[in-house]
Amino acid sequence: MNAYAPILVLGGLGAGFAIFSVVMASLTGPKRYNRAKLDAYECGIEPTPQPAGGGRFPIKYYLTAMLFIVFDIEIVFLYPWAVTFDALGLFGLVEMLLFVLTVFVAYAYVWRRGGLEWD
């Protein structure tokens, strides 16, 4: 049972905070609704897209998403290095610089070939 205690504590804390926030907001905040506010929030695009042309997303959306993923994921290598920066010394620095440089080459390609332009 002891093993599950932390989970229970964490769950309790989380639930408490959620209930507290919602209740407090409804009690104290002003109540002026509009359409945008009533919509569910989904990363800034319409949650139920129904544009002309059969409900397809523009290709740009995927492109941006893919670019985001591929550049975002590089952090995963930077983080462990940052933690052990001292221990790895100059070797680590040089290697990481090379790594980042390579990522920048990819960035340069994307940028020059218009991958970052929305239109």
């Binding site: 002891n2 205690a5 932390p6 504590v9 964490l10 070797f91 080459v105 340069a108 020059r112 070939r113």
Partner: protein, 554 residues
Amino acid sequence: MSATAAAVHSLWTTRALADTAATPAIPTPHIEYAQLSPVLIVFGAAVLGVLIEAFAPRAARYAGQLAVSVVGLAAAFAALVALAADGYAQGRSHVAAMGAVAVDGPALFLQGTIVLIALVATFTFAERRLDPVAHGNRVDSFAAQGSAVPGGEQEQKAVRAGFTTTEVFPLLLFAVAGMMIFPAADDLLTLFVSLEVFSLPLYLLCALARRRRLMSQEASVKYFLLGAFSSAILLFGIALLYGYAGTVSYGGIADVVDGTAKLTPALANTTGNDALLLIGGAMVVMGLLFKVAAVPFHMWTPDVYQGAPTPVTGFMAAAVKVAAFGALLRLLYVVLPGMRWDWRPVMWGVAIVTMVVGAIIAVTQTDVKRLLAYSSIAHAGFLLTGVIAVSPSGVSSVLFYLVAYSFVTLGGFAVVTLVRDAGGEATHLSKWAGLGRRSPLLAAVFAVFLLSFAGIPLTAGFSGKFAVFKAAAQGGAVPLVVVGVISSAIAAFFYIRVIVMMFFQEPQPQGPTVAIPSPLTSTAIALGVAVTLVLGVAPQYFLDLAGKAGVFVR
């Protein structure tokens, strides 16, 4: 409360082990740049290629890319030769980059083969004389704009503007670099990463055909989905092997399998469970068998070979097989020799099924590219017989066979690019009827390649098959050799059938024409013929070379 806090803490930390208490000292890693230089040169050339794509004006890209690729590959080959001359192929071979990459005979031999294949493939990639001139621009085998919808307005615009996908060169180089690491990988992580490094560019290259783009894209989708599926299975196998041995380095796993490793309590617990080893090993081997196109993991091969642009097909058929067989050899000979009594019978089965199925299905094929695809499947079976030998001569015979096979394959697919009609390449076999009348030289060259595939004496194919079967027979796999010879006979049937078709049938009235290639493709074909004949007539030197390069470092 403090007990609870510690327990919460343990959710995201691991308890420090006794011997690494306090701040664990990380030994400063080091990388032997000189020994890795061949791979690094190719990677460097690839990155340079990306920069050319980014900054060079469109008109200058083709020449720039071609120059960078050729120079990079040539430099890499020079570096490989220098390493071999320095004795890294024999006495000085060791494991570089903190146990990630082996620098030894088989690795250098296979890397050299891959680099040469890539060099020849670069020539076929750069061929611009085959397709008719479109809107005043010479075009190659690749799509004007890969992202444009086939037949759409954007594509026509791209064609009119004379766009070409010069990205194929850096993609090729990335793939080559991955393939160079693949047979040299000395831990499972490097194996997996290099697998993906060479696979991902290939998926893209498959989709970039200029003609028949729907088929090309379909090939790409199939290759990608199945390839991703197989690499997921391979990765799970790696996970299980890691679970069994507590390490992913080849030497470490081999020690655990042999029972010579120092047992920690955790290890004692997992090594008791052979299922982890057996299942994991089988799954990793499956991932490699997928790449070499062994039955029953072969089904992607004909579809992808047919759909992909022919230069890419030639490159894939040759280089992937070399890289994957290299990795398979290292895995089975370095990591798993301790359990060869388990995998040898299984591989027997795979080899037999592969040879027989490859040869039999090929009999009824009507498309040249699919025919060559099935032939490559059958050849994978022949190569597997050499792998099964588990002897030094097994290694050297497979190395030799790979060289013989790959250049013939490259040449064969290069010939396919030359036979064309209005719709691009005329790959249907019926159109090849009477080619010997129309273009005797080309038909004769193709006949030489086919004879080599069939393993007729005085060709490279014969020397290779002979070496492999000999090694297998000496290794006690005589029944396997018998099956091999029978399926060779079946295979010879359809190779000869094509030759008969070319020389003894009347040409069709609306038959294809044979394009006059530039020196690029001619070089590729001539090299294929030269290797076929040299390895067929005087194989001894190369057999010796392969024999000298046949010792793995551990």
